[in-house]
């Protein structure tokens, strides 16, 4: 009997025979799990977490009860570490039913390549948090003024803005001791010129904050020096919520289907993740978590609601109304985020149900609303968001691209990690493929074992573009069997496929192929983006844009020629295509460093007009046309020499 097993965070799934161990299944499916001791139930490296419950999106009910029983030996190994629920060893646990297995970071061999590097930003420093060193006059019987008022008075003398300050409850509790132990020489941390949030003994120069970008798939934190604006440490990780579903919709539905606990579980999971980033980044920089006095956050609307513990159900269905648009300021303590307890958590504002604070972050970073030229901004993540316009007007929309462009929902798709094919070329004459694998500088030669495990997002776009260029794909996306190549074939279920890497080149004991369904998934995704672009242009009554800004960590890895060749966006001069990196994260950093920018963000967020694509009368038609390669009718004169002549003119 066969059972379904799904591994997270990779999202890979497969059918295995009853009695297969989790580790065997992982190998078969191409998921890396550490197994240092050679499956002797000794090292304990292969710990995995078994998810319990119903997962609508994955269509699976996973349970600890679907596994072989825990025996004494395994129990002993597991007991060496702190007891955590639902943990098993992959090497000796047999599969007896459907299971969803989460492989924790520590148990993964190939570490994820999360590249959300901080970009260059220009900002006039005006952080919300400032530190003031003050020497106070010691009180005596002639001057018995209270400690807080004493601090306030001195601060006011130095800075007339500091009027009517308040003090955080916890800071107040510590105040009398700190003042006396430090001989009345203290550094006072003030938030927004309004509230004292910390009083430290002596002179403290460093003033740090943390900007965080919570993506659906990955989370990046930028530990930032608020005095200089420099990033001290960048810390990133997979979004731990991935184990509840790969995309936003599946997480929203998890909250809906698990009414009592779902939202809380997801909220706790992301807060735990944020705390990990806080701990690791401060540790690396030689600070304590308490030294972070403020945090700014960007994320999409669903992540936003879940983080704040707000039911995301209503923003998940039409008319997609968010709980609020405005930015939110909440004390860390109330969240359970382990920075300075009185520290502020600033969450950037939201544009619409499917255009969230992350998109506002992009606007803050790229500032299309301050430019004269028409910018088309594409933020490609698990969802695609578009913004079009200039200083006069901005409109935005969300395209349901799904995670296919990132390599999910693709038979051999995987995230960017060692072993992932990242670049592909196909010879249009021989139809032979050559590719590059992450972690290896050489291109494949068809002989050497490249230890390839799958295809990541950038290579999916490459391979589709190359297949189309080599006419392996017809304009309508159909795999063309007219060629005489053993790479083009049908699998045992009759599904057409193209062999990208032969079994002897892979680490998974199987050929890596791109099949017809994969092509269809990409067609849907890129059709959504392209038709979104067209409708936006039409909405503004323009034919062309002056610059195309591609944002998103994944976007930076895409080859722009390949992306245009498959028709992800309309034809334009390739010189106008600009990668702006992880603009959402850059926006979070800018907001961290400037209260003026925060104010501006709230204004833009409400100024951008949201367009609901699906409500456009002709959306289905435009979407359908845009699904073809590169487009059913549109021509691409800028790809002369790259595309077939009939697509150019």
């Amino acid at each position: 009997m066969q059972h379904t097993i799904i591994f997270q965070p990779s999202g890979r799934r497969g059918q295995v025979e009853e009695g297969t161990t989790i580790l065997e299944a992982a190998r078969k499916i191409g998921v890396d799990i550490e197994a240092v001791c050679g499956e002797l139930i000794v090292c304990g490296k292969c710990r995995v977490k078994i998810m319990e419950g119903k997962f609508q999106k994955e269509d699976i009910t996973s349970s600890m009860g679907h596994l072989s029983e825990l025996d004494e030996k395994e129990q002993k190994v597991l007991a060496r570490k702190d007891a955590e629920e639902h943990i098993r060893l992959a090497c000796c646990t047999k599969i007896l039913g459907d299971v969803l297995v989460f492989v924790p970071e520590a148990s993964r061999t190939g570490k994820q390549v999360v590249s959300k590097a901080a970009g260059k930003i220009k900002v006039k420093l005006k952080p919300a948090v400032r530190k003031y060193y003050v020497e106070l006059p010691e009180p005596d019987l002639d001057d018995p003024l209270g400690d807080f008022e004493r601090v306030e008075e001195t601060l006011y003398k130095n800075n007339s803005k500091m009027k009517k300050l308040t003090i955080d409850y916890r800071a107040l509790q510590k105040l009398p001791d700190v003042l006396r132990k430090s001989d009345w020489k203290v550094t006072v941390t003030v938030w927004n010129d309004a509230e004292i949030i910390r009083v430290e003994p002596g002179k403290v120069e460093h003033n740090i904050g943390l900007a965080v970008d919570i993506g659906t798939t990955s989370v990046a934190g930028y530990l930032t020096d608020l005095n200089t604006g420099d990033v001290i440490v960048t810390e990133s990780m997979m979004n731990p919520q991935v184990r509840y579903g790969e995309d936003v919709m599946s997480r929203i539905s998890y909250c809906m289907f698990n009414e009592e606990t779902g939202l809380k579980e997801l909220q706790d999971t992301i807060i735990e993740g944020l705390n990990t980033i806080v701990k690791q980044s401060t540790h690396k920089a030689g600070f304590a978590p308490d030294d972070i006095s403020e945090m700014t956050l960007v994320c999409n609307t669903a992540m936003h609601h879940i983080l704040l513990g707000i039911n995301p159900e209503y923003m998940g269905v039409a008319p997609f109304t968010p709980a609020l648009h405005h930015s939110v300021d909440i004390k860390a303590e109330r969240f359970g985020i382990d920075i300075l307890p009185a520290g502020n958590i600033h969450v950037l504002p939201i544009e619409a149900g499917f255009v969230g604070a992350d998109n506002v972050g992009c606007l803050v970073a790229d500032k299309p609303h301050k430019r004269k030229e028409m910018t088309l901004l594409i933020d490609i993540g698990t969802n695609g968001e578009l913004v079009l316009g200039n200083k006069d007007k901005l409109i935005s929309c969300s395209c349901a691209t799904g995670p296919a462009l990132e390599g999910a929902q693709i038979e051999f798709g995987m995230r960017a990690a060692p072993g992932a094919i990242e670049r592909v070329k196909i010879d249009p004459k021989t139809l032979e493929a050559t590719y590059k694998v992450i972690g290896n500088n050489k291109w494949s030669d068809g002989k050497v074992n490249m230890l390839a495990k799958g295809i990541c997002g950038s290579a999916i776009i490459d391979v589709i573009a190359e297949m189309y260029r080599a006419r392996i794909l017809k304009k309508n996306g159909q795999i063309n069997h007219d060629h005489a190549s053993n790479r083009i074939r049908k699998n045992d279920k009759g599904l057409s496929e193209y062999v990208l890497a032969w079994r002897h080149e892979t680490a998974i004991d199987a050929d890596i192929v791109v099949n017809q369904k994969d092509v269809r998934a990409i067609q849907l995704a890129k059709g959504a983006l392209y038709s979104g672009c067209l409708i936006m242009l039409r909405k503004l009554g323009i034919k062309k844009f002056d610059r195309l800004a591609v944002a998103g960590a994944f976007g930076s890895h895409i080859d722009k020629v390949a992306a245009m060749a498959i028709g992800m966006f309309p034809d334009c001069d390739l010189k106008k295509v600009e990668y702006i990196g992880n603009a959402a994260g850059d926006g979070a950093r800018i907001a961290l460093l400037s209260t003026d920018e925060r104010r501006d963000a709230n204004i833009i967020a409400r100024k951008v007009e949201y367009v609901e694509l699906a409500l456009e009368e002709d959306f289905n038609d435009r979407f359908g046309e845009a699904m073809q390669f590169p487009h059913m009718f549109d021509k691409f004169p800028h790809l002369k020499g790259i595309l077939l002549p009939e697509d150019v003119e």
Binding site: Q56, K57, D59, M249, S250, I252, S253, M256, F257, E313, G316, V317, A318, A400, N476, G477, Q478, I479, L495, S496, Q516, R520, Q523, L524, G527, E612, A614, L615, N620, D621, F623, G624, E625, M627, Q628, M632
Partner: protein, 221 residues
């Protein structure tokens, strides 16, 4: 009209649908009407016949969503002309369905393809559109006494409504059959929500609907 001429028009309608040529479809339909051809036969053998080939092409991955949409367009170009001339024929009447996209969902591409295929095959389709309030489905079914209610959902979040809706429909009319479809829906959803069937594409939906209708009609006898 000669048999030969009739066959020629049927063939032209078929080809117009298969090769998504709305102008050709329109022209063939106009000629058929002008020459007094049997509109029902033209629809069934010409348009529906063409759509059958389209379905096959979809199954074998030759066609995908864009082509199917275009075929449906060509089909409507002719069907809109032919429809008024179709005489209700005893014994050949197909079923009636209520069709719509769930509340909270505005994705109606799949629903529109379904509608085209069903209408071409002679079914009466009561299309409620998208983002349809639950009550509306119940009311429409009661009003039209339709055999099947077909519910479409593209998002997991809007799919949830189906679970509430099915008991509401069945309470009023236990005999009515429910077909559900859309990206997040699987066989498991069908059993959990108490629906009767799902289909992963429009041609299969039609096949399933025929089966259910047969069962319903036999049940009545």
């Amino acid at each position: 009209m000669t048999n030969e001429r009739e066959q020629e028009l049927i063939k032209r309608l078929q080809e117009a649908v298969i090769n998504y040529k709305p102008a050709d479809a329109k022209k063939a339909a106009e000629e058929a009407i002008a020459e007094g051809a049997d509109a029902y036969k033209m629809t069934m053998e010409g348009l529906a016949g063409g759509m059958e080939v389209v379905s096959e092409k979809f199954d074998t991955h030759e066609y995908f969503v864009p082509e199917t949409l275009l075929c449906a367009k060509a089909l409507y170009a002719a069907l809109d002309l032919l429809k008024p001339f179709i005489k209700v024929q005893e014994g050949t009447v197909r079923g009636q369905v209520v069709l719509g996209v769930m509340q909270g969902d505005v994705h109606d591409l799949g629903k529109n393809i379904i509608k085209a295929i069903f209408e071409a095959s002679g079914w009466t389709v009561h299309d409620l559109g998208r983002d349809v309030p639950l009550k509306k489905f119940v009311e429409e079914q009661m009003k039209t006494d339709s055999d099947i209610v077909m519910l479409s959902a593209m998002m997991t979040t809007s799919m949830v409504g189906i679970k509430k809706l099915i008991p509401m429909i069945k309470e009023k009319n236990p005999k009515v059959k429910i077909m559900i479809g859309g990206a997040p829906i699987t066989d498991k959803t069908v059993s959990e929500y108490g629906a009767d069937v799902t289909a992963d594409n429009a041609p299969n939906a039609l096949k399933e609907a025929m089966k259910m209708l047969d069962a319903l009609r036999k049940g009545k006898m």
